[in-house]
């Protein structure tokens, strides 16, 4: 039985038709992990004792989980040596909901330490390699989850995004990455980076799988006061709507973008037009302003959220913090200090409000906004060290949406000349994940770009 490249839905069909058993599926992935993990460094912890259930939307489907989701009795490090021996006593809401839906877990995936980065290179456990070119970064911080899907070491994975940490590695690794609206999915049990931005979401092979996983994990959580009371939707049903939409395009989001990335994105937009969607030029606050707002807010949050790792608990002292975390803590503590708070943090929050208003205004005119996910394709490993604020620049097209808290999805739109995947992002209005999934699904059905996912896997058959 050839399973390689099968989506969750396809695996489910095979299992339902009894052509393959749940155990066989699970073992298939475990074997692949054993074979390819040493060269790609995707999984930090393998989970082999599976707890089985026989009901639920994800019954028997194995998944990979980013290592910043707490799972009961399973080592959770957030890729930092500070938590090298941390075994949580409790389960994150996301993994608990997946479990209830019948999902199985293959392991915890590598990431930038504390999710600080866009290349998975700040991990204290070594970088994850991009399966398209192992000398290159898969992006990050959810690089392990992106590669797990891209190299088919899992049919789907869970990541988390603060600004670009799902969509950017999805684009660089050539898979689908969905970042829901802030507050759509519970953060309970996710090792916090910045609490007003963090958002869990799926990385998948198809838009349909992303919709399925969102359906399972979305919704109010009594353990997270920032989750929205607005009920989640039947995202799979919405995919059948095939609604014709107005697509907003802002020239500022193509500024400084690599020619090939620009060209493929514009080409994808033409395809969307052909499908009957209208395009409309819109004016948005240029993404460059979001960089400073994002940097200040995020660093402040980091300096506060990492305060609990003071060396008294968790068995490791503060010397175990890596360089990037230390830099962020210092900058964050500075912007919150007496006398600087107003000049930095408060001002950043004011500009953030402007960006939120900007998006709200835009979504009165258009249904979705389309832009490249990243300015360039995957960089060589080690290159990020040459640039301070590397991540901020890499993620600049993701930061405005992150700051505003709107949902977005990155889908593959082709390969560049170096045979590296290119991603396009579709942003939606608050809590309108349905719309972006719908249009992304229409795009997927119309094109063969998603075929590149399988092409990438060829080396890993």
């Amino acid at each position: 039985m050839k399973i390689l490249g099968k989506s969750i839905k396809e695996i489910r069909n095979l299992v339902d038709k009894k052509e393959i058993s749940v155990n066989e599926v699970f073992d298939y992935f475990i074997k692949r992990i054993d074979k390819y993990n040493p060269e790609l460094n995707v999984y930090l912890t393998k989970i082999e004792n599976k707890e089985e259930s026989n009901t639920g939307k994800l019954f028997g489907i194995p998944l990979a989980i980013k290592d910043n989701f707490c799972m009961k009795r399973i080592r959770t490090t957030a890729s930092s040596k500070v938590l090298s021996d941390f075994i949580p006593t409790y389960e994150s809401t996301v993994t608990s909901r997946l479990k209830k839906a019948g999902a199985l877990f293959l392991g915890k995936t590598n990431m930038d330490a504390w999710a600080h980065g866009s290349s998975t290179e700040t991990s204290d456990y070594g970088p994850t390699k991009n399966p398209w070119d192992k000398t290159r970064s898969p992006g990050g911080s959810s690089g392990g989850s992106a590669v797990a899907v891209s190299a088919y070491l899992t049919p789907a994975a869970i990541g988390s995004e603060t600004a670009g940490s799902i969509k950017q590695p999805a684009a660089w690794s050539g898979v689908v990455g969905l970042k829901p609206t802030y507050g759509r999915v519970s953060r309970y049990g996710v090792v916090a980076m910045e609490s007003t931005l963090d958002c869990p979401g799926p990385l998948t092979l198809t838009v349909e799988d992303a919709a399925l996983i969102l359906e399972v994990i979305a919704g109010h959580d009594p353990y997270d006061a920032t989750t929205s009371p607005i009920k989640g939707e039947n995202y799979l049903d919405i995919l059948n709507k095939s609604e014709k939409m107005t697509i907003g395009i802002s020239d500022d989001y193509f500024e400084g973008v690599d020619d090939e990335v620009k060209e493929k994105t514009l080409n994808a937009i033409k395809i969307l037009e052909k499908l009957g969607h209208k395009t409309k030029k819109i004016k948005l606050i240029p993404p460059k302003y979001a960089i400073s707002v994002y940097t200040i807010i995020q660093r402040a949050g980091v300096s506060s959220n990492l305060g609990r790792y003071d060396g008294i608990r968790y068995g490791n002292d503060r010397g175990k913090f890596g360089e990037e975390a230390k830099r962020r803590i210092m900058l964050g503590a500075y912007t919150l200090s007496a006398g600087y708070y107003d000049a930095y943090y408060k001002k950043a929050q004011k500009v953030r409000t402007l960006i939120i208003e900007d998006f709200k205004k835009a979504f009165k005119e258009v249904d979705v906004i389309v832009a490249p996910t990243t300015p360039i394709t995957a960089l060589k490993l080690g290159e990020f060290e040459k640039y301070p604020f590397f991540g901020e620049v890499m993620d600049q097209l993701n930061e405005p949406g992150a700051i505003a808290g709107v949902p977005g999805i990155s889908v593959p739109v082709g390969l560049d000349k170096k045979c590296l995947p290119i991603g396009m992002q579709i942003l939606g209005n608050y809590f309108e994940e349905g719309k972006i999934l719908d249009i992304a699904n229409q795009f997927e059905k119309e094109t063969d770009f998603f075929g590149i996912i399988k092409k990438g896997m060829k080396n890993y058959e």
Partner: protein, 442 residues
């Protein structure tokens, strides 16, 4: 010698007795519990755990604000206050910075008004237990709701402080939101003291905070000690150091703990895990309905409505339960009084006397109390023949007392009344006894 005037403000912490903690579902009642038996990922500050505020604690803080005549802020929020200490598992305390739940209140005690700057809600820290060379942490207290009440620097002496604190404790207990027990630490006090020249309008440029005081009388003593200490320094032409001091109960002295020159920067910022709070007028009104008649109002009413002596009314209203008992006894007594047509006057004052003078204990049921009150207050049948003999004998035996009376010491008669009543074994009407004695002496 210059004339000096103390400037005193207070910070009071009150632990709320909500069933669960401030941000998780662990039990908030940690007293006497096995260490670390009431903890969860949230109050242990585990990675990824998130706080969800306790609605009841917020409502109770609003109630306290209302009882202290505060303005309830329609928009409020939580903030993070950062500092490192082993009893603080997150590296920050969830507290309130610039938008407290309540502000600008006042409390009137003995006709003096004291301003309440703010009332805010925060979480308690864990408890450190020092054991030889080891320090152990008990997280049972971590996350218990804690209300901080800050007063204006309106106090000028330790007596006012003590009276204010006693009144505040009674108010909090009336609201039934906390035991406000100093010994158990559910009420904690930190006075801020400085001294200025009489007539100086500006506040002094320093202040001394005293921590870890566990009784009202120690608060009074520590304030008195500080006023003296600071005045002496000022007399020398120096300025006392801005610092935090502790209080040594045995020596009755304060001692330096931490200099405020190394003042911490708490790096406050809005708690991102909890959305800002918005209280509607209706919501605040709804809570206001729960506000009971407060002790000072009750005292006033007892004096006005029942004609009680102020001191008796004050004593009875120090406890909401006692006041309730008193009112129940009153009304039950009156019904009986009418039924039996006994025509006992001044029922309220009589009942108050029985309670205040502890003639009848109040740990029995109200019905029993009323029964015993009747036997105490019903005019006694008096054996007049026996009474005459006893009075005659006692007048003989107490010539000096009789002389005193005749010389104008009218109170002396009460001694004789007491003696007679004793001989009669209480089987006599005191009024009749009194009249008879006066008759006989003349």
């Amino acid at each position: 010698m210059n004339k000096y005037k103390p400037v005193i403000g207070l910070e009071i912490h009150v632990e709320l007795k909500t069933k669960s903690k401030m941000f998780c579902q662990c039990s908030g009642n940690y007293f006497g519990k096995k260490p670390n038996s009431q903890v969860c990922p949230v109050c242990l500050g585990m990675p990824g755990a998130l706080p969800v505020p306790n609605k009841r604690a917020i409502e109770w803080t609003i109630l306290i604000g209302q009882a202290l005549n505060c303005h309830i802020n329609h928009d409020s929020k939580f903030d993070r206050k950062h500092y490192f200490y082993p009893d603080l598992p997150k590296g920050y305390q969830i507290s309130q910075y610039d938008n407290p739940i309540a502000s600008n209140g006042k409390v009137v005690v003995s006709n003096k008004s004291f301003g309440i700057t703010r009332v805010h809600l925060e979480e308690d820290t864990a408890k450190l237990i020092h054991d030889g060379n080891e320090t152990l942490v008990d997280f049972n207290r971590s996350g218990v709701p804690l209300v901080e009440i800050v007063t204006e620097p309106d106090f000028e002496n330790s007596d006012d402080v003590k009276r204010f604190l006693e009144e505040l404790q009674v108010i909090i207990r009336y609201l039934d939101v906390s035991d406000a027990d100093m010994e158990k630490g559910t009420m904690r006090l930190e006075p801020n003291i400085s001294v200025k020249l009489e007539g100086q309008r500006k506040l002094p440029n320093y202040k001394v905070e005293i921590k870890n005081i566990n009784s009202f009388s120690f608060v009074k003593k520590s304030i008195e000690y500080e006023i003296k200490r600071q005045t002496e320094i000022l007399e020398k032409g120096e300025t006392p150091k801005q610092e935090t001091r502790g209080f040594n109960e045995a020596k009755g002295k304060t001692f330096s703990q931490r200099s405020k020159e190394e003042a911490q920067d708490y790096r406050y910022f809005p708690e991102p895990d909890i959305p800002p709070m918005k209280f509607s007028e209706e919501f605040i009104e709804e809570i206001n309905k729960e506000l009971p008649e407060l002790p000072s109002k009750k005292t006033e009413r007892y004096v006005k409505e029942f004609g009680l002596k102020y001191q008796d009314a004050f004593i009875i209203t120090r406890s909401r339960e006692l006041a309730k008992y008193f009112e129940e006894a009153n009304s039950k007594f009156k019904i009986q009084n009418l039924k039996l047509n006994l025509k006992i006057n001044n029922v309220e004052q009589n009942i108050a006397n029985l309670i205040v003078n502890k003639k009848i204990p109040v740990n029995i049921t109200v019905d029993e109390f009323v029964k015993r009150a009747f036997s105490e207050l019903t005019p006694k049948e008096t054996d007049l023949g026996k009474l005459d003999i006893i009075i005659k004998r006692l007048i003989e035996e107490n010539k000096k007392v009789v002389d005193d009376y005749k010389n104008g010491k009218t109170n002396a008669i009460m001694f004789l009344v007491g003696q007679v009543m004793k001989e009669m074994k209480g089987q006599a009407d005191a009024q009749i006894v009194r009249n008879k004695i006066i008759e006989k002496i003349r």
